[in-house]
């Protein structure tokens, strides 16, 4: 159907639209109009992605000079592929409606592991291996060497692409990962490099967060993307953690040992080159004297996305003399390394700020701040000059140099913690230096600065105002949409007591209490008897789950549950868990029914959907607080309090509740879906916890379901399930008045009620549209 969103003609590839989709588009349009950033929350399963795509593409078509590109970031590979498929659907609709094939180019970009078609390289199992192998075949100096020695192995796909691939742009269309591979096979071109090259002129790029947020990758892949792009971060409820992760560094003794080897290798290579090809090193030296002017010019003319690891100031200067020659630099690295080693020899925990660290390093080994800042850049230059084949081997020294640059660049927002041993095993020495970022805004700042509109969206972003605060940006729109429902297809219940009135809670003091564990078991047992097909249960941590499973096993609860359903349990091994997941789905599929025991914050809770019968009930055992004893967390909380005036408890609760919401939200993935959401902890009943749940869940928690016993919950659940099991009646009627008010006069109503909930079918009459456009 065609929609009129404040004067913008939007093609929407379905015959009906949910009202929240309409309002979502409205808000989105306003954000784009204002050329600002937005935070939008809309429940999962209400067609967020298709609304986003429909509106932004319509906008792109209407104002091709205002918005040139859509950069859609999602979290997982399946998500990326889903977005592309939705896009394909939309594009098909466009060409059907308009009758012309549009010249949009949309493509997904993923790592080499998912795109490589080289028979040997692609058979490698791990991403890192694929990257390393690919690099050893395609690096520029390797290819240069091949001129003199044609026997060196070659990747024919890359050679072919390099020879002709850049001249002809990728023909317009929608390319998923498999399509790219197909195309690559047909042409004999490397799909990965083809995709990386094509994103520069593509209208729509779909890839993972890291390509924008991780400075190491963003610098390679995304820095030339156009400024007039709209960036969308979907499933962005965890975006702060992604930012922080990309800027944090951990250094262990093992890292230092490997680093030592790297430095030795560097030294040897330098010696060798000096004997054979001294001119090369001289050339490098000359380049470094001239400074990083090129990069600076590029950034000033706004061609490049800024790299937070490469701060502006250093671009204006030349690399300091102390580390300009290769030998000096290696010597400098050695000194730095020795210093780090000495720091790791501590017996007690040390926490210090970056300036403290810099002062200490100056006092101890006379390393100045300035050369440290150039460390990362200098190392890159050296590695290029020395023609190192396998960069992956030098990850340790790269890590150290990145650390050096970061620690000397940012005096705020980072902390250094040196722990001589793990808290749980105080007898085993395992010193670690954590250099951890506490300010997610550092990593994301270049994105906000460079791109015209950045949309942060997810099913669970409540409370909305916290994201602009911790990411330090000013949104022009912030909105949370609820889900219009024909039938209340979600049933949140807060179980606070066992049948014996024991308060249920996962809080530390009662964690080991047998009564609580037994009651939790009882809850699961009772639910397993009344809920059809699949149940997913989440625990607050892996250790907690292991303990509970063991004591349920001892008490014979698991045996009783097995009478009703099969039991599958998430393990720390991803491959094992994948298998368990598949078996779980199989058991749900064939009617036997199963229970999946899983962990909040785990991979399952973040990436796997339990649609329809794969999850008829989700049970959240306890409140998934992060492990609060960690020093890094404490430092971050302190920082949040000092810098953003966010109280520790507020943040902890916010963090726990967003994960809880993620977990329970896994079961409802659409309006035809239904599911129970059981919060098994009495603390959920408190207003401060409840209030932080997304609006669309909060709305359905009534006072009657706040502090239930297991039995009461079972009764309510039975009632709910019985109602939901009734055939879904389709009701039709005229649209409610509330809907009409939202719609401008150009919209002709063909409104209907569908599945009982309000869906507006808005359509232009061509006549009126013409009038309007004219």
């Amino acid at each position: 159907m065609k929609l009129n969103i404040e004067g913008l003609l939007v093609y929407f590839p379905y015959d009906y639209i949910y009202p929240e989709q309409y309002s979502y588009m409205l808000e989105l349009k306003r954000t784009l109009d204002a050329k600002g950033h937005g935070v939008l929350e809309m429940p999962s399963g209400t067609g967020k992605t298709i609304s986003l795509l429909s509106l932004i593409i319509a906008y792109q078509r209407a104002f091709p000079l205002e918005v040139t590109k859509l950069i859609y970031c999602s979290r997982t590979v399946p998500e990326i592929e889903k977005v592309i498929e939705e896009l394909r659907k939309l594009m098909e609709f466009y060409s059907k409606e308009t009758g012309e094939s549009n010249n949009f180019l949309a493509l997904a970009l993923s790592s080499r592991k998912n795109l490589c078609i080289h028979p040997e390289v692609s058979s490698l199992r791990f991403g890192k291996e694929v990257d390393g192998k690919c690099h050893s075949l395609t690096a520029s100096y390797i290819r240069a060497q091949r001129h003199s020695n044609p026997n060196l192995p070659v990747c024919r796909f890359y050679e072919e692409f390099d020879a002709v691939g850049r001249q002809v742009p990728l023909p317009p269309g929608v390319y998923n990962l498999d399509d790219l591979k197909d195309f690559g096979r047909r042409k004999g071109w490397c799909p990965y490099y083809l995709a990386r090259y094509s994103i520069l002129h593509a209208n729509i790029v779909v890839y993972s967060y890291h390509y924008l947020l991780d400075p190491k990758i963003a610098d390679l892949v995304s820095k030339e993307l156009a400024k007039k792009s709209v960036v969308v971060f979907d499933e962005a409820h965890n975006i702060d953690n992604v930012c922080i992760d990309s800027m944090s560094v951990n250094i262990t003794r093992r890292t230092l040992d490997r680093c030592q080897n790297n430095v030795d290798t560097l030294q040897n290579t330098i010696h060798k080159i000096k004997e054979t090809d001294a001119a090369k090193l001289r050339e490098e030296y000359r380049r470094l004297v001239e400074g990083l002017k090129e990069a600076n010019v590029a950034r000033e003319t706004d061609i490049y996305l800024a790299n937070p690891v490469l701060p502006d100031e250093i671009l204006q200067e030349a690399v300091p003399g102390t580390i300009r020659t290769a030998e000096h630099f290696v010597g400098f690295l050695r000194r730095f390394l020795e210093y780090l080693k000495s720091r790791l020899r501590v017996q007690h925990v040390v926490q210090e700020s970056a300036p403290q660290f810099l002062k200490d390093i100056f006092d101890k080994v006379c390393i100045d701040r300035k050369p440290l800042r150039f460390c990362a850049e200098r190392l890159q230059s050296l590695l290029r000059t020395l023609e190192i084949a396998d960069i992956a081997d030098f990850s340790a020294v790269t890590l150290i140099s990145n650390f050096a640059t970061l620690v000397s660049t940012y005096s705020q927002g980072f902390t250094i913690i040196i722990e001589p041993f793990e808290d749980r095993t105080p007898t085993i020495a395992n010193p670690v230096l954590h250099f951890s970022c506490m300010d997610p805004s550092i990593a994301i700042k270049p994105v906000f600065q460079r791109f015209q509109s950045v949309i942060i969206t997810s099913g669970t972003l409540s409370p909305l105002d916290i994201y602009p605060r911790i990411l330090d940006f000013r949104p022009v729109t912030m909105a949370s949409f609820t889900m219009t429902l024909a039938r209340t297809c979600l049933c949140p219940l807060i179980v606070g007591r066992g049948n014996d009135q024991v308060a249920l809670s996962s809080k530390f003091e009662t964690r080991e209490d047998f009564a609580v564990i037994r009651n939790y078991g009882n809850l699961l047992l009772e639910m397993s008897a009344i809920v059809p097909d699949g149940i997913v249960a989440f625990f607050t941590s892996y250790v907690y789950m292991e303990n509970i499973v063991a004591s349920w096993y001892e008490q014979g609860i698991l045996e009783n549950i097995q009478r009703n359903k099969l039991i599958f349990i998430e393990t720390q091994d991803a491959a094992e868990t994948s298998m368990a997941l598949e078996k779980y789905q199989e058991a749900c599929e064939n009617g036997r029914g199963a229970i999946l025991l899983s962990v909040a914050r785990g991979k399952v809770s973040e990436g796997i959907d339990f649609v329809h019968h794969f999850g008829r009930a989700v049970i959240m055992f306890g409140v998934p607080y992060v492990y609060t004893q960690s020093r890094i967390l404490k430092a971050r909380l302190e920082y949040l309090r000092d810098q953003f005036q966010i109280r520790e408890n507020d943040f902890l609760t916010f963090d726990a509740m967003r994960h809880a919401a993620q977990c329970v939200g896994r079961a409802i993935r659409g309006k035809t879906d239904y599911g129970l959401m059981i919060f098994a902890d009495k603390r959920y009943a408190r207003a401060d916890k409840r209030g932080k749940l997304p609006r669309w869940i909060q709305e359905h928690i009534n006072d009657g379901s706040l502090n239930l016993t297991v039995d009461e919950a079972v009764q309510l659940a039975k009632h709910f399930l019985r109602q939901m099991a009734q055939p879904f009646r389709q009701v039709r009627s005229t649209p409610a008045t509330k809907g009409t008010e939202q719609v401008s006069t150009f919209v002709v109503w063909k409104g209907r009620w569908r599945h009982g909930y309000r869906c507006l079918n808005l359509a232009f009459q061509s006549q009126q549209l013409n009038n309007f456009v004219a």
Binding site: Y16, D214, S248, T255, S395, E559, R563, I569, A587, G670
Partner: protein, 543 residues
């Protein structure tokens, strides 16, 4: 005794039933009991009818054996031979134990199913009475496309009974009981043993290797229950345990499953993340090492439990679907264990595509696509309600004719002059008035009296049954078209004779009865006539 050529497997004398002494016979297909001194059986049950047997506890004074039938009835035999009562009972029990499972599978599932259907559906039951009991059609024909639905489409499916899965908790069902002197007693039934074998092929293999050459059956199971294999939380201690090998095999199986990976790309956690952080980056420290060296005893025992649960559930699931799916499974296995990624690429996209499509579908936003049906377009709905009238030779008129005749009539009307002398006689006129006034003969039909007020309900009921029965017969009849096999041809002929018989035995008597009793109420007659008409049309069609 009874003149039977059956093979008698066991004879037990002095068995009382209903306080009467007698003899118990276990034959090849049934169990029977006859009172002493009589040469007939008063009790006789086919094995297939027996659901289970129960025995009295050992300590009881009376030594009894109870047979519970599928119908819910039960028969109790009391072994009264003082010296050998227990032995007799054991012998009978053992034999029954062997015999019953054989017949259990034969137990007439269909019959139960039919019974259930008849009980649940009163209309069907009535139909059954009307058609089968009155021998219009045979029971076989009646059920032929009733039970159908699933089975009828494919005769091979009909024989293919659904495999019964395994309870997930079968190990839990083996409740150990203390025997009072510091030991445990496990009760194993044939079902449980089968479950164990089906779920754990490794145990079955051990069983066939060791029993009876090395171990007796009892010893084998004793060891099984003592093994760490059975008690998942115990840490493997000795290697002399014959089941330690099973555990290793299971481990291997689990590993190979894990290595095989998953077919559904949406649940593959390994390829979920696009770009993982390089080693050394990120806030989360290295996971509290998962290597076994660092694990405490408790942790690794917990880990073992979790692993075993996953394995157990996977095995139970696999045991349920093992049969019938093997060829498909193997095919997919070969493709995925190949290891060559190009091959897996080749196989993967379809699954992936389908899953992705499923994931992005919003069915409720789409205009619903019902299967397209052709609307029934009735030009004359009264014809549909009353059945076809015998075709009359009609002269079709052209429009010119019609216009002419209209003109003619108009002309006639204009020139109409009543001829008052030649009207009807006064008597005829008054009788016509009477007939046309309320209560008159001709006004009865127009009085809009509902049929349910005019005829008693039993007649209506009968009519309804007849209607349904006729419908059923017609359904059978029409289902034969197009007649393209000799079998169908035969069936058509048969159905036609059935229809005729139905008309003779059911419709005609009913029609006569109605005519006799309710001559005036032509409404009900119409209905029954229309039935007859339908039948006659059908018969014409057959010819």
């Amino acid at each position: 005794m009874a003149s039977l050529s059956e093979e008698v497997l066991l004879v037990v004398k002095k068995v009382r039933q209903r306080k009467q002494d007698g003899t118990l016979y276990l034959m090849a297909e049934r169990i029977a009991w006859g009172p002493e001194g009589k040469d007939r059986f008063t009790v006789s049950h086919l094995y297939a009818d027996i659901r289970c047997q129960k025995i009295s506890p050992d300590g009881k004074a009376k030594v009894q054996l109870q047979l519970v039938l599928h119908t819910g009835e039960s028969t109790t035999f009391h072994f009264a031979n003082e010296s050998s009562a227990l032995k007799d009972r054991e012998a009978a029990k053992e034999l029954l134990q062997q015999l019953l499972p054989k017949f259990k599978k034969k137990a007439n599932k269909e019959l139960e199913e039919k019974n259930r259907m008849l009980q649940e559906d009163p209309v069907l039951f009535q139909l059954y009475k009307d058609l089968v009991v009155s021998q219009v059609i045979s029971a076989e024909e009646f059920w032929a496309n009733r039970l159908g639905g699933v089975n009828n489409t494919d005769p091979t499916l009909f024989n293919n009974k659904q495999e019964v899965g395994i309870s997930g908790a079968f190990l839990a069902d083996i409740r150990p009981q203390t025997d009072g002197c510091n030991g445990l007693r496990y009760n194993l039934t044939a079902d449980i043993i089968e479950s164990i074998f089906r779920t754990y092929p490794a145990v079955k293999q051990k069983y066939s290797e060791n029993v009876p050459h090395n171990l007796t059956e009892k010893e084998f199971w004793t060891r099984f229950f003592q093994s760490h294999y059975f008690h998942r939380d115990r840490i493997n201690t000795g290697t002399q345990d014959i089941f330690s090998e099973c555990a290793k095999q299971d481990e291997k199986g689990l590993k190979s499953l894990v290595v095989q990976g998953v077919k559904n790309p949406l649940v593959d956690l390994l390829s979920l993340e696009d770009k993982t952080l390089d080693e050394g980056y990120g806030v989360s420290t290295t996971q509290p090492s998962t290597s076994n060296a660092n694990r405490t005893v408790k942790e690794s025992s917990n880990y073992a439990i979790i692993k075993r649960f996953n394995h157990h559930s996977a095995m139970v699931l696999a045991a349920g679907s093992r049969k019938g799916e093997t060829p498909a499974d193997q095919a997919s296995e070969t493709s995925s264990t190949d290891g060559n990624s190009r091959d897996s690429d080749f196989f993967q996209p379809p699954v992936k595509k389908v899953k992705l499509q499923e994931a992005i579908e919003y069915e409720d936003l789409q205009r619903e696509n019902r299967p397209k049906t052709v609307a029934l377009n009735l030009k004359k709905s009264d014809r549909y309600a009353h059945g076809p009238v015998p075709l009359q030779s009609q002269q079709y008129t052209t429009s010119q004719d019609i216009i002419n005749s209209v003109n003619y009539i108009r002309h006639e009307m204009a020139n109409y002059k009543p001829n008052l002398t030649q009207v009807v006689s006064s008597t005829a006129a008054s009788s016509a008035i009477v007939a046309l006034s309320p209560g008159g003969v001709l006004m009865q039909a127009g009085a809009q009296q509902a049929i349910n007020q005019m005829v008693p309900s039993e007649v209506q009921g009968e009519l309804k049954h007849l209607y349904v029965a006729a419908g059923e017969l017609l359904r059978h009849f029409w289902s034969c078209f197009p007649v393209n096999t000799p079998f169908l041809e035969e069936k058509v002929i048969k159905m036609k004779s059935n229809l005729e018989r139905f008309q003779m035995t059911k419709l005609c008597p009913f029609q006569d009865k109605i005519q006799r009793q309710y001559l005036s109420t032509n409404v009900s007659l119409q209905v029954s006539f229309s039935l007859v008409c339908v039948l006659s049309v059908v018969k014409n069609g057959v010819r």
